[in-house]
């Protein structure tokens, strides 16, 4: 067992699960989507991205790119939310839908990342 691998796998899976937690629920209803969940998802995603830095292999490159995609989508969602919350106390449902669908895209990228992790592990056979 390798501690580095444990940490690596932990953050990648955590990024996906947090992302999923934010994403799941009625898309238009802010009750189902707490900002803290998005915040946690962003932080864990960023850490996962940094952990993927510096791997020269092909699979490492794909790992990094999926993480970058997830970061981009989640940060965009956060920026949209921050911009809209300045306008009034309530977030309009149309905007909520776009925030949640952005996080849905990020979730897909995170799933890809986890699939890659599993493929890598299977290929290693150790």
């Amino acid at each position: 067992m390798n501690l580095e691998k444990v940490v690596f796998g932990f953050f990648i899976v955590l990024a996906m699960t947090l992302n999923f937690g934010f994403f799941i629920g009625d898309m238009a209803d802010p009750e189902f989507h707490h900002p803290y969940e998005l915040f946690a998802a962003i932080v864990v995603n960023l850490i996962a991205t940094v952990l993927k830095f510096g791997d020269r292999t092909q699979i490492g490159a794909i790992h990094l790119s999926t993480s970058l995609v997830a970061d981009l989508q989640l940060i965009t969602a956060a920026v949209v939310w921050a911009a809209v919350s300045g306008m009034g106390p309530e977030v309009p449902p149309s905007v909520m839908v776009s925030i949640v669908s952005l996080s849905g895209g990020a979730f897909l990228a995170n799933v890809t990342s986890v699939v890659l992790l599993i493929i890598e592990t299977i290929m290693l056979r150790r």
Binding site: Y36, V43, L46, F53, D55, A78, A82, S85
Partner: protein, 572 residues
């Protein structure tokens, strides 16, 4: 490029994660701290507001308490966040700065810059390994001739020296060990424009390594190697090194050449000199008895060549057993009695060839006191002793670096030049003298440019076109000045190579064939003008027939009509 990026990213992992975590803690804390808004109602920061506050705090910008004055709980958290995030920032910044100064990274960047510079070269270039005395001479001379070079040296001081030099063209250089094949690959031994490699380091084994690497990776690439050791030279030869330069052997040969055929020697010096420098006045070694001090590699070569010229030689050697000298006078040569024993008073010349400069000078000083009419040949080993030798002003001063550089130049300027010089050595002295007087007449007393031209579509489109139309062309027409066809260009064709058949000093009546290669020697202006003649049909036609061919179709048609009218006109 990739490797550097990955290196930076890998090293930045820890500081970046620290930064992200400290931000996350600070932001989260701010959203939880109870506060009041302007109207005194309970208020908590949103995540965005918290991120905003942490961003300007962590970077030590500090806008103050926004959007409302903080409560005590918020201020407590702020105090904590300042220490947390500012320290994380400083750690990250410190790490970045340390990374920039990291020797491994800097080396990677220099190497990258070097291999990019080499990759971008779009003209023929030579790789020079070793930028010592010889290397700097060679690079300087090639630069003066407008030939690009790439330099490798293991000594950073020499690379700095090169960077301070004022060369016409940029010389990509790298401080690296040439024994590593990767370095040679980066220097471009597989580059399509690389025309040759010169291994001139003072380490015979490094030179051998260069020869082996180049011959294994790119066997077609010519390699010139300096080798002062016979076993190393033999090893180099077994790997197909194109030319092995042994400065001591070469000097011996040159000395012999100066003795029996001064003209040939002069021709050699002249054609391989740096363009623009003036022609050195030759010394003519006298015939008779010679005293040779020092029987090392240099002394052996001199003695062998002197004996071939049927000179009587007397050897003075301090350590006969080490040098394998059977018939010699034991002594350093600096004492008067050994010189007298060697019969210095009846000798015509003395060769001071030990590997110690001060000894050499002392030998010739003593010898000159005993016999002031002596012809003096002295070996110079170290460059920093040059002022002493200049002051002393011997008849011939042997400098290994000069000899090697000349030899390399002969090969690099044009492979034809090396062949020409080899053939010239086979000619008699009168032939060489005639050629020299002709060169002096045409190009003056400074070292001329030497270059070769191939009659091909690329280099001589106009000539090929004319020959393709079945109109013969003699070499002489290429020697006329495009500005005025009655004048001739200041250049001399030295050799014409048809297939593998060389023709020394081809006459102007020689008819040119496609794929002929001609070696020219002339002034810089002639070198610049000749391509015009070779490539421009109009200029060529003017020079040969004295007719200005009209450029445009209309004028061509009009002039052909005019010609017809003139021809039709009845006589009278």
């Amino acid at each position: 490029m990739n490797s550097i990026l990955f290196l930076v990213l890998r090293r930045m992992r820890a500081p970046l994660i620290t930064l992200i975590i400290s931000y996350a803690i600070a932001v989260l804390g701010f959203t939880l701290m109870p506060g009041t808004d302007g109207a005194g109602k309970p208020w908590q920061m949103s995540l965005f507001e918290a991120f905003y506050v942490v961003s300007y705090t962590a970077t030590t910008i500090g806008f103050g308490e926004l959007p409302y004055t903080f409560s005590t709980a918020q201020r407590l958290w702020m105090t904590f966040s300042i220490y947390l995030t500012v320290i994380a920032w400083f750690y990250a910044i410190g790490k970045i700065i340390a990374l920039i100064q990291d020797p491994a990274l800097r080396q990677a960047m220099t190497t990258l810059r070097f291999s990019r510079a080499v990759h971008r070269l779009h003209e023929p270039f030579y790789i020079v390994c070793g930028y010592g005395e010889t290397g700097s001479l060679l690079v300087g001379a090639l630069d003066r001739k407008g030939i690009r070079t790439v330099v490798l040296d293991i000594n950073p001081d020499r690379i700095n020296e090169l960077e301070l030099q004022d060369y016409q063209a940029d010389v990509p250089c790298l401080c690296a060990d040439v024994r590593l094949p990767e370095i040679l690959l980066q220097a471009g031994i597989q580059h399509p424009m690389c025309k040759g490699v010169a291994a001139l380091t003072d380490d015979n084994h490094a030179n051998l390594a260069v020869a082996v690497t180049v011959k294994l990776i790119n066997p077609q690439l010519p390699v010139l190697c300096r080798a002062e050791d016979d076993t190393i030279a033999a090893n180099m030869a077994s790997f197909g090194t194109d030319h092995i330069i042994n400065p001591y052997q070469l000097f011996g040969e040159h000395l012999a050449m100066e003795m029996h055929s001064l003209g040939t020697y002069l021709l050699h010096e002249w054609l391989t000199g740096v363009p623009g420098t003036s022609l050195p006045t030759p010394a003519c070694p006298p015939q008779g008895k010679w005293v040779v001090c020092g029987y090392g590699r240099f002394g052996k070569s001199v003695v062998r060549n002197l004996q071939r010229e049927h000179m009587q030689t007397v050897i003075i050697e301090a350590d006969p057993e080490l040098t394998g000298c059977t018939d010699c006078i034991v002594g350093s040569g600096a004492e008067a009695h050994t010189l007298l024993e060697a019969g210095i008073q009846k000798a015509v010349g003395i060769v001071a060839g030990t590997d110690n400069d001060i000894n050499n000078l002392s030998i010739v000083m003593t010898a000159l006191e005993l016999n002031p009419k002596l012809f003096v040949v002295v070996r110079k080993n170290r460059r920093h002793n040059a002022p002493l030798f200049r002051q002393f002003n011997a008849d011939i001063t042997m400098q290994p670096s000069d000899i090697i550089a000349h030899e390399c130049l002969a090969h690099f300027i044009s492979p034809m030049l090396a062949q020409f010089l080899k053939l010239a050595r086979g000619q008699d002295n009168a032939w060489a003298n005639r050629l020299i007087s002709r060169l002096v007449e045409v190009v003056g007393e400074t070292v001329p440019e030497t270059w070769d031209v191939t009659i091909s579509g690329e280099q001589a489109a106009a000539v090929v076109n004319r020959l393709g139309h079945g109109r013969p062309l003699s070499l002489g027409s290429l020697l006329r000045d495009p500005a005025n066809r009655l004048d001739s260009l200041p250049l001399v064709p030295l050799m014409l190579l048809r297939g593998s058949q060389p023709m020394l000093l081809p006459s102007p009546e020689t008819l040119l064939h496609i794929e002929d290669r001609i070696l020219f020697c002339g002034t810089r202006e002639a070198k610049n003008t000749l391509p015009l003649l070779l490539r421009n049909r109009k200029v060529l036609d003017y020079v040969i027939d004295g007719i200005e061919v009209p450029d445009s179709l209309v004028w061509r048609w009009l002039s052909s009509q005019a010609n017809r009218l003139v021809n039709k006109k009845p006589p009278g």
